[in-house]
């Protein structure tokens, strides 16, 4: 009796909620885009790789902002920590294996996430935003001061990743870096899809809506958010490490307020609370920036501004969020 009930329930569940379906579609979209990018812009892989690194940062930001409701303008701290860790491992310790560098990046990102989470989660709303701003400035100043380690404002150079699994060199064409990036993005995306629909992901969504209610269910919002911050740090660390490996240089900009703000803009542009939104926002923003700034660098800021205003006015849930809402409404109407 019970068993039939359960099966019954599972078959009843709407198709889109079914486990696995969305993930496969998502992964195939990413891989398809990656292949299209490879063949459409075979000579522009360096920029595509950079987009992937930033996409990882935006995904990471989505975890805390989109899924947990934490307002932060300092998320690049996690990205920069990953980038510097991977870079320093190579430049100062001669750890040139890309996978080992990646591991350093992930750990450093997670640690930075722990530190940032411990501070940022102490307030809400506007003061929270300001805490994050103060933090990113502290990180930035710290990296500037520790110039014997980080190269300060001259940037950390001398990063020399060896061939990936001993076979593929990171060359001028940027193919290895690109494929490496695509694989990382696909892996991270798949993992995050699992996490956001896991019990923990559900808990975080609930915390975003009402942390008091969650406390009365016996769960600690703070502990859950800290955990998410660490995960988010690891993801941003992947992005940072990828950036360090592919460009072989790390600059203070990777720990900057500007980068934090830009990543937030990209996220809101695509739509918060959805991994696809994060990816959409990154790709659209970076392409827009690339095209407009190549066409007319002197006025691209005006156009980006206009784009942002237009998005708020006409696609308030972000590009992906609004599109998804329209599709859902259509489906319901049928």
């Amino acid at each position: 009796m019970t068993m039939t009930t359960t099966n019954d329930l599972i078959t009843q569940t709407p198709a889109k909620r079914r486990f696995g379906g969305g993930d496969l579609i998502g992964l195939s979209v990413i891989l398809a885009l990656a292949v299209v990018g490879y063949f459409l812009f075979p000579t522009n892989l360096a920029l595509l790789t950079r987009i992937i690194a930033i996409a990882l940062l935006v995904l990471s930001l989505d975890l805390v902002t989109g899924y947990c409701g934490v307002a932060t303008l300092g998320h690049a701290a996690l990205f920069g920590a990953g980038a510097y860790a991977a870079g320093i491992a190579s430049a100062h310790y001669g750890i040139n294996d890309p996978l080992a560098m990646l591991a350093f990046g992930i750990v450093a990102g997670a640690v930075a996430g722990l530190v940032c989470g411990a501070v940022i989660l102490r307030a809400h709303g506007l003061p929270q935003l300001v805490l994050s701003i103060a933090l990113i400035h502290l990180f930035h100043e710290f990296a500037n001061k520790a110039s014997s380690w980080t190269g300060g404002s001259d940037g950390l150079s001398g990063i020399a990743p060896s061939a990936l699994i001993g076979l593929y060199e990171f060359d001028l064409w940027g193919r290895t870096a690109y494929v490496f990036g695509v694989v990382l993005l696909a892996l991270v995306f798949a993992l995050l899809r699992l996490i956001v629909r896991s019990p923990f992901g559900m808990l975080c969504r609930a915390i975003k809506e009402d942390p008091v209610r969650i406390r009365s269910m016996g769960a600690s919002p703070k502990a859950a958010l800290m955990k998410m911050y660490v995960i988010s740090g690891a993801v941003a660390g992947v992005g940072g490490a990828l950036n360090a490996i592919s460009t072989q240089v790390v600059g203070l900009d990777s720990l900057s307020f500007t980068m934090s703000a830009e990543s937030l803009v990209m996220l809101v542009l695509g739509g918060t609370g959805s991994l696809f939104g994060a990816l959409t926002g990154t790709i659209v923003f970076m392409f827009f920036e690339d095209v407009v700034s190549a066409a007319n660098p002197f006025h691209w800021l005006t156009m980006v501004g206009a784009l942002l205003i237009a998005v708020v006015l006409f696609a308030p849930k972000g590009l992906y969020g609004t599109a998804a809402a329209i599709v859902a409404r259509r489906r319901e109407a049928k």
């Binding site: 808990l203 809506e209 209610r213 009365s216 016996g218 995960i231």
Partner: protein, 254 residues
């Protein structure tokens, strides 16, 4: 029987005003107690002291024989003291199934798991289905909470509380704001609560109190002025003076 829930000499003052003044209360498993009192009697403060959202100036809260006064709200929930909210506090973007599943997973210490989805966890879905079925919410289990009726949301509040398998359940006006037509379902749900569960219900609706409670506690000006059977409460002169008078006035106004 050994009390599952006990409050001893609980005191809390704001400024010079004693909002909870030397309150003691004890409940055994299976008890059905109604806590009533006029507006401003200190019910909210009392609830907050009991749940751990507010620290008492002195006194003790005991749960299953253990002192929990020094334990925070989350710890008390984990020890079996669960409350529902007077105004529903549900996650509007989530489904009833998700609500109950979250509570079940939380209770089992599985809410931090990073992999898997409750929809594919047969034991969780089983419990979710049973609980929601019992409360008549099964058809709606995959709708968003923002799309279901208020009465159904109140039932869901109860379902979430039950999913946590509490020893002591604090129901804060479970029928508040529910249209007359739907109160039957809620009363039925209350009647179906597990027999060994100690329930403390805070309620204004005297009809509901008389139908539900085996025992009534009256709180006025921060102190318990009556603790006894429903049939005696209306006879008690102090209650008549302190409570029913104002209640009558209130119902006039409404």
């Amino acid at each position: 029987m050994q009390p599952v829930f006990e409050v001893r000499n609980l005191k809390r003052a704001f400024g010079g005003l004693a909002v909870t003044n030397d309150v003691s209360l004890s409940m055994a498993p299976g008890d059905r107690v109604a806590l009533i009192g006029p507006n401003g009697a200190g019910k909210t403060t009392f609830v907050n002291l009991v749940t751990g959202n507010l620290a008492p100036d002195s006194g003790e809260v005991r749960l299953g024989g253990e002192t929990v006064t020094g334990i925070d709200a989350i710890g008390r929930v984990r020890r079996g003291l669960v409350r529902s909210f007077q105004v529903t506090r549900l996650f509007l973007d989530m489904t009833p199934a998700e609500h109950v599943a979250l509570a079940v997973l939380q209770r089992d210490g599985r809410s931090g798991r990073l992999f898997g989805n409750f929809l594919s966890m047969p034991d969780v879905m089983d419990e979710v289905g049973q609980l929601l079925g019992k409360l008549g919410l099964r058809e709606l289990m995959h709708r968003k909470v923002s799309e279901i009726a208020y009465g159904q949301q109140r039932l869901l509040e109860i379902a979430v509380a039950l999913a946590l398998k509490p020893k002591v359940l604090l129901l804060d006006e479970p029928a508040a704001g529910v249209p007359q037509s739907d109160t039957g379902r809620i009363e039925q749900a209350l009647a179906d609560l597990p027999a060994d569960l100690a329930v403390l219900m805070i309620e204004h609706d005297m009809d509901l109190v008389f139908r539900f409670a085996k025992r009534v506690v009256v709180l006025a000006a921060g102190a318990i002025i009556f603790d006894g059977s429903p049939s005696d409460v209306t006879q008690d002169p102090r209650v008549r003076e302190a409570y029913l008078g104002s209640y009558a006035n209130a119902s006039h106004a409404a």
